[in-house]
């Protein structure tokens, strides 16, 4: 029973930790499937988190916060799109730039507005997304094993968590079953083929990049409106990069992305739980070793099981007709 409830708690925390990763990862998926590499996920998350917190604080409504977050993220997505698609600039540089810009501007503006070193005031009540309990969660609790699983792991999260799962579903379905999805899949592999088929390559790529913007907007809003209660400079703490790792893990596919992100979240949760717990045989493991665990495991998994992950063939290459 002890173990079970502990395990449940870890899973629960794993879910929470994996949500921002999942949003960012799906964002990356759309962008890269269309042939635009995006290492600016981190920056978009950060910008969204700030805008969301600021707007939520101003209006007292989490939903307007979410809207603002999405808009901010879209802004940066447009910059990246313009550089990568219209200007055929180097997509990695543009991504790095987006990250730095977001880091600088959020702190700068935040400081100018609130005079707290970029921090937004703490958010209360309606300005945050509160957990919602799924129907019959309490009743189900009684059922051994499955009950708590449903009540504690599946139920009791903010609406954005369920939105993330929905986003995964939509992404998978759209890519697989719709005209738009087919064209996205094609343009990431061979833009010339799409072009000669009479479809505009830039339009497709812009669309994908903007979708990525929306998704990062949700991720950022989740950070500052659901997981935390307000914005803090640098609060994304590298999640954008972990999301990229997850994307490669998932070989640019939607459901595997969900799996990969949950894996990362879970590893994180477990490492939290292992701190200070003394291992049989080894004795007390140094904190740093535990903290490094998720990263070490990632490398091992990557080397051991994933093997070569081949990105969409045209990703990272601007589309130029005339050599």
């Amino acid at each position: 029973m002890e173990e079970l409830s502990a395990a449940i708690a870890v899973f629960d925390s794993g879910v929470r930790l994996s949500v921002p990763l999942l949003f960012a990862c799906l964002a990356g998926l759309w962008s890269e499937r269309s042939g635009v590499v995006d290492i600016g996920l981190e920056g978009k998350l950060l910008a969204a988190a700030f805008a969301a917190a600021a707007a939520a604080h101003a209006t007292g409504s989490a939903w307007t916060g979410l809207g603002a977050g999405v808009l901010a993220s879209l802004g940066f997505a447009l910059v990246h799109g313009f550089a990568a698609i219209a200007q055929r600039g180097n997509q990695i540089v543009s991504g790095v730039a987006v990250n730095m810009l977001a880091a600088g501007l959020t702190a700068l503006v935040g400081n100018a507005w609130y005079g707290q070193g970029g921090r937004t005031p703490a958010l209360e009540g309606a300005a945050r997304f509160e957990p919602i309990t799924l129907p019959g969660a309490e009743a189900a609790r009684g059922i051994p094993a499955l009950g708590p699983l449903y009540a504690d792991v599946l139920s009791g999260h903010t609406v954005l968590v369920y939105a993330a799962v929905l986003a995964t579903l939509l992404t998978a379905a759209t890519l697989k079953r719709t005209r738009f999805g087919l064209r996205i899949r094609a343009v990431g592999e061979n833009p010339a083929a799409v072009d000669t088929a009479g479809v505009s390559v830039p339009a497709l790529r812009y669309a994908a990049v903007l979708i990525a913007g929306v998704l990062c907007g949700f991720g950022g809003a989740y950070l500052s409106l659901a997981q935390a209660a307000g914005f803090l400079p640098q609060m994304t703490a590298g999640k954008g990069f972990i999301a990229l790792a997850a994307l490669i893990f998932a070989k640019w596919r939607a459901w595997p992305a969900l799996g990969a992100c949950f894996l990362f979240g879970l590893l994180d949760a477990i490492s939290i739980r292992l701190q200070g717990v003394s291992m049989p045989g080894i004795g007390l493991v140094p904190v740093q070793a535990i903290q490094a665990l998720p990263y070490a495991l990632t490398v091992v998994l990557l080397a051991g099981f994933i093997g070569r992950a081949i990105p969409p063939r045209a990703s990272g290459l601007p589309y130029v007709k005339e050599r």
Binding site: V93, A97, N99
Partner: protein, 367 residues
Amino acid sequence: MSAPIEMRRWADYVLVPALAVAAAFVVAGLVVLAIGENPLEATALLLRGALGTGEGVGFTLYYATNFIFTGLAVAVAFHAGLFNIGGEGQATLGGLGAALACLHLDFLPGWLLVPLGALGAALFGALWALVPGYLQARRGSHIVITTIMFNMLASALLVYLLVNVMGKPGSMQPETPTFASAAHVPFAHEVLARLGVTVPTTPLNASFLLALACCYGVWLLIWRTRLGYAIRTVGANPAAAAYAGIPISRVTIVAMMISGALAGLLAVNEVMGVQERLLLEFTGGYGFIGIAVALMGRSHPVGIVLASLLFGVLYQGGTELAFDKPTITRDMIVTISGLAILFAGALDGLFRAPLGRFFAARRKAGG
């Protein structure tokens, strides 16, 4: 034939970045306006702060030193078709290598200890890059991820060592004891003082020369050696490399190690040169700026030096700016750097295309 090409080169490495940076400043100016300061005044302060005083220049060059090391590191990997985001971690390990040498070989004379320290830095940096390189070459693990992960692992390792193993007893600060004086890398102001020239005290030290030497070394390696030829072939066209009988995975690993070694040398400037002890977070994000530097510099040493100088100016000038204008915080530096990277690295087309046309016209006119 060659004249116009030279012209374009020159434009590519100097003119385009210059215009781009100008554009970056314009946009940054708007931000400054938005927070209620005078952009022109700010720009003036920034430039004067970076280039107007001896101290400013010293700091600018000191920062540039870091960027040159990390920029070269990224560039070498690029030529082999590898994207090494691991500069931070490799530099961290470089610091460890330097510290171990300086702390445990302190009985040696300076002329021997300092080079050994540098060697340690390069060696450890190379080893930390070896693993991702190997995994990429032999197991096909994506180098971008593995290097990111190795950054995290490096910082964890360093905290552990500084707190539990190498830390100076009784210090709150997780840091090693200060190195023996033999390990001291001469500062510019010391050297010049000995020559009778007095300049303000700055962190600028001999590693700047080392950085320039590395630039020449990298140029030689990439464009004038057989290994460099192999590296570029693997990077540009792996199939052709296989056809040419070039051992691809070995070259990949070697390239990564060279890249890691260059990143590791950052420690010579920061750990041996300035801090004279190993401490947490001394890499200060220079590894990431290195990516931008390499890309802006078109992975060519000349371009890298120029880009490094640019960021040196932004860092030092920005500091002075923050000093004189409390409303403009240190975050302004990050913002301007971001803009510079954006315009010079990704939106350069805005300026390259018109320039190209201009020169084409010039050439036609010239006949």
